[in-house]
Structures are given as structure tokens and as C-alpha cells.
Symmetry: C2
Subunit: 120 residues, 2 copies
DNA sequence: GTAGACCTTGACACATATGTCAATGTCAAG
DNA sequence: CTTGACATTGACATATGTGTCAAGGTCTAC
């Protein structure tokens, strides 16, 4: 599929998709006209990228581990990639813990506010 | 306490603390020499800021809701602040869900990799 | 009074992901 | 052919939080 379709199907701008490619996150064949041609599985790749991005990984890190995550390579390639995945997994867990705390702070404030609301 | 002490106790740079103040997140009295003087509770404020920051809120949003969170004002002030808190609370929950998914992706990759590891 | 640690403001710099714009090529439909 | 939608590359811009540096005031201790 062409880049426009991939953009539509993933809700990611063409600008971003080309950027991902430049960083080695995404691959495409080129037609005779020079247009990028994406495989069907690119959709899944892009979706994974979005998840990882919104989890706080940066594109460079995602580039490092995505091929392994997508099964392009096997047995966790090498120890560096395995270590990276473990590291990022830990970071995500840590962030989630912080966010749980933040969520708690906000929830408690809402409760307190509700209880004190005029007419309650 | 002076800004240096607050910085040490919260592990936040003086640069950041002054920035927070400029954005209205943090308050300080000024001594005759012009030095900032922070109340004890500023420590807690800064810690909350860090939690909220690492949960994806930006400083402008934190500035909007922090006074309420710290109990400086009561009964959730007004509907705008309440709405903001609810909105951000929801965003955090959504992000946590995404992160749970990301974490899952990474964990599954690690498992798969482990099982296929040479000698296993 | 001078050294050293601390404070002040302001400006400039950086990283990161993405938006935006320009100049241009491709191609299907009329 | 021209129009319109889509593609290409490259450059510049933006937002956000923070680092860093400069030029200087303050205060303690020797």
C-alpha cells in the first residue's frame, strides 16, 4: 500500500511515517516511480510504534527493539537487544507506578471536592 | 528554606524550580536580599509536580490544578478546575492502559526469546 | 578584603517528535 | 493537455522541559 493509505489506516501522518523510516523503524519497497510501497504488516508495526511511543520510549530505542518485537529476528537476537527490552520494560513498570500514584492524587482531590460541594 | 536546599531535598534543579515559579506552580517569599524563601510544604508541592509531570501532564496544566490538589483552595474551586482534573485523570488512565499493553508486548517478546534460547 | 558558596536575572542551546511549506514528479480522469 | 490527488525530498518551525553560561549581588569565614 502507498504511504497515504498507511497514514489513514494508522492515523499517523505521512510526515511521521517517513520519519520512522529514516530512523530505521519502518521499511518499504519502492515502486518504479519512487513511491513507497508498504507491506500489510506495516500497519501492525506502526501501531506498535504508537504504543511504545506513548509509553515513553523514544524512536531510537524503538528502532533498536522493534524488529525483535515484530518477530523479524528470532531468539532475541543478542544480549544487547534483550537487555534493552528488559530495561524498557522496567521503565514502563516504574512509570506506571508513578502514574498510579498521580491518578490517586487526582482521584482523592475529586472525592474531597465532591464531599465539600455546596449542597452535599 | 533557600532554593538550593529545596533543590537538594527534591532532586530538582534550581533552574527547574525557578521555571516552575515563573509558570505559577510554586510560590516563594523574598528575603530582603532578594533570595527566594520557600515554605516547608513546597517540598511536597515539588514532589507532586514531578509525579504529575512523569504522568504526562505539562506544566501549564499542572499550574491550573496544583493549588486545588494541595488544598490551597477548597471544594474544587470551580467547575473548570474540576473538569480539568477529571480530564487529566482520564488521560492518565488511558495512558496506563496503553502502557500495560506495551509492557505486555515486551514481556511476551522476552518469553518467546527465552524459550527459544540456545540451550533451553 | 578576599575567597568561596550561594543567590539573582536573562539569554542561548538542546532534544524530540511532528507540523508546515516549497518545489517538483506521477498518474488517472475529464 | 490540464486538473486534482497523491508522491518525493529538504528545509525551516514549533513546543516543552531543562541544561548551561554570563554578569553580577550577598554573606560567611578567614
Amino acid at each position: 500500500m502507498l504511504i497515504g493509505e498507511l497514514a489513514t489506516r494508522t492515523s499517523v501522518s505521512t510526515r511521521a511515517l517517513r520519519h520512522y523510516e529514516k530512523l530505521g523503524l519502518l521499511h518499504s519497497e519502492r515502486g518504479e516511480n519512487g513511491y513507497r510501497n508498504y507491506a500489510e504488516k506495516s500497519v501492525e508495526s506502526v501501531k506498535s510504534i504508537q504504543f511504545l511511543l506513548s509509553s515513553g520510549l523514544n524512536l531510537a530505542t524503538i528502532a533498536e527493539i522493534l524488529p525483535t518485537l515484530m518477530g523479524d529476528r528470532c531468539a532475541l537476537d543478542n544480549d544487547a537487544v534483550r537487555a534493552a527490552i528488559e530495561r524498557e520494560s522496567g521503565k514502563i513498570a516504574a512509570r506506571m507506578a508513578k502514574m498510579a500514584h498521580s491518578h490517586d492524587i487526582l482521584s482523592k482531590a475529586l472525592e474531597k471536592g465532591l464531599l465539600r460541594r455546596p449542597g452535599t
